[in-house]
Symmetry: C2
Subunit: 417 residues, 2 copies
């Protein structure tokens, strides 16, 4: 019962994720119960995953954990590519040739910032300066390095889009949000946030997660101009920008204030955990050092694999195929969604996901998608959901679409009852 | 000149690594100079690598960066294995078979805590519980995860051995040290440290870096008993314990208070960045979550490679060969050192390094080894040095030994001048 009271207080927003719950002693007084009762309630809330104990510090409202067991039925949750899309035989040949040509050197250590030849190739391919570039073990590590370089009071000094990528919410213990409109952030709201001590703005300006939208070029310019004026850094998370190659990049518009993070885990396969980041020159040394203290360096063997995969043009061909497949799967998915007038999707989405806004709340016990509240603390997004459509194989996807159709049909009839 | 004054103050210990330097305004007053002069001195010290600016927080005495360009002459610094020791053809066959058998599934994502089959095999091989085990991208990441789980005020609440691994000093911004004796830590000093709020003790009880020593079993018991009594956690960094397999482990003596970290980067090759950690059950969830927010998961492909390398018995055979080669190279190195009566090495060292204590300070501009001050802030270790002997290939090592002989000969004659 005490546990329910605390749960209600959390649901009502009295304590937000990451906030400290008053100590047992204080609650004993304020709730007028004995210590053992409060202690039992805390133990219960901990088991339930509502609060977290931090060693030597107290109890905190838990940030939503973004560690999901994939849904083994029809997985519209996971936004990684299915393995069928990846040319594994070409990968096998590359590993073979690496061992033939470099022998055990294929497994030699690389410099902290990355394999020099890979840096050179990436620099040429992405038109970004190699001397400000750093190889990372995936985009999440890029964010982790930012949290290290800007450690002091970070959760108070970073602004997020709303909705946004949950891995960033949890890592940075997000407190400040700017609502996303169809062409980018609400600039008035952003200006309001900039009145406090903001040092960072975390954004996915192209192929945004979860909405699949991209900023207009004007909004990108407007964000860059604010970064210059207020002196904050933009974290441009380019986790899937290649799916919409016509998009402009903030790192080109304002390199001095942009920390650009590019992932390969999403465009190749999750078993290859690599990405790169490009940072403003005056922060470079700090980022290299943060990388070193995180994991010394990313696997040299995988770096050499990626180097060859790009150099031989295989990556380009692979991307073309992925874009084509994604477009076709999206069309099939939208054909299903369009049958239900209570569902709407924004136009001009790209990437591997579609973001659905229903006119009513769909209540399901085991929905096959990611719910809106995984991407936002704002009630308005609670009924939205994200459908990822590139993780199933072809056969499962076809069956998955008709399963989805059944599920939505059931929601529709439940509503008309 | 102002810069020199500040440098002298740092050398005299007035400001220690990680400590904040007074603001420019304060120094202007205390040194009686104008603001521009102090500003210039700060800029100079920053360029020199003596201080660091942290965005929005001020200037700090810099922790020694442990990012070294390897010495390309004769490298007695680097403590990774040379590639010649690694059976790369067997590695090549494993990758081939993985792609043949698993096809693109070889590159599928793994759960956050690691490939289940690898966890099972490691559990059996190392007699440690799989349900408390987590695959990490090398031992440094294990330390980084500890720094995340025990974030609050960590540099005040962790004790280190003196000397110790520099990657840990920098990561945790070390403040508390316990001198190491030939059989383990000075227990009286440890007890003194335990009077303050200590939550962690970072130790390499077997094949210690840089000294190559191992604790006696009695001292291991004594440390475990103190962990139980005071409720602190032991970080057992088992980066190279397999080089001395008869050693007992703290994780066996006191599993409830031991965070055990095992690296494979040192025993295989640095291009394979993998390790595992075993943590007390009540901390497991927090560590899995810290791993997720650091880099989601370690490369599935490399995990599968390691799984096969161990399962097929290749790792065991490889270790036997490495131990044999290390013993032989150590004998040859000690034969050189023994020629110089002003040098002494502790008995019963193991691993890839030897720790040398000279009777006098050896002054060289470009010494081929790691200097004592990289492992300790204590003046007594300043003249010591560490010689790593497994990173050169056979031909370079033979020439390296005679180069070392020449260098030491020169030191000897300089002293007798």
């Amino acid at each position: 019962m005490i546990a329910d009271t605390i749960k209600d207080q959390i649901a009502a927003g009295q304590y937000k994720p990451g906030e400290k719950i008053p100590a047992i002693r204080a609650l004993t007084r304020s709730l007028g119960v004995n210590k053992a009762t409060v202690h039992k309630a805390f133990e219960y809330l901990k088991r339930e995953g509502v609060i977290d104990n931090r060693v030597g510090s107290g109890s905190y409202v838990r940030f939503p954990d973004k560690i999901h067991a994939p849904n083994h039925f029809f997985d519209f949750r996971t936004d990684y590519l299915n393995e069928q899309f990846f040319p594994y035989q070409q990968a096998q040949s590359i590993f073979n040739r690496l061992f033939e040509e470099e022998k055990a050197q294929a497994l030699a250590p690389t410099p902290v910032q990355g394999d020099p030849e890979l840096l050179r190739i990436l620099s040429r391919q992405y038109h970004l300066p190699a001397e400000c570039m750093l190889i990372i073990s995936g985009a999440q590590q890029g964010l982790d390095l930012v949290s290290k370089v800007f450690a002091a009071n970070i959760s108070e000094s970073i602004v997020f889009e709303d909705p946004t990528y949950p891995g960033a919410i949890s890592l940075f213990r997000a407190r400040h949000f700017v609502p996303l409109e169809s062409d980018g952030p609400d600039l008035d709201q952003l200006d309001l946030q900039l009145k406090s001590q903001i040092r960072l703005f975390y954004t996915m300006p192209s192929v945004h997660n979860p909405t699949g939208l991209s900023y207009s070029h004007q909004k990108k310019e407007a964000v860059a101009q604010r970064a210059r004026r207020h002196g904050f850094y933009i974290i441009e998370d380019d986790y899937l920008g290649e799916l919409d190659p016509a998009q402009s990049r903030l790192v080109d518009i304002e390199p001095r204030y942009t920390i650009h993070i590019k992932s390969f885990a999403q465009t190749t396969l999750a078993g290859i955990r690599l990405g790169f980041m490009v940072v403003p020159p005056d922060l470079y040394h700090q980022f290299v050092y943060a990388k070193f203290s995180s994991d010394i360096t990313s696997s040299g063997l995988l770096q050499k694999f990626l180097r060859e995969f790009i150099r031989q043009g295989l990556y380009g061909t692979h991307l073309d195929r992925v874009r084509e497949q994604a477009a076709s799967r999206r069309r099939r998915l939208h054909a299903v969604i369009d049958r239900f007038p209570f569902l709407s999707v924004p136009p001009d989405q790209s990437g591997y996901c579609t973001w659905v806004t229903p006119k009513m709340a769909l209540t399901l016990n085991h929905e096959p998608w990611c719910r809106g509240q995984e991407f936002s603390f704002t009630p308005v997004f609670k009924s939205c959901f994200r459908l990822a459509f590139m993780h199933m194989n072809d056969a499962d996807y076809t069956r998955g679409l008709s399963y989805l159709d059944t599920v939505l049909e059931r929601c529709a009839s439940a509503d008309s009852d």
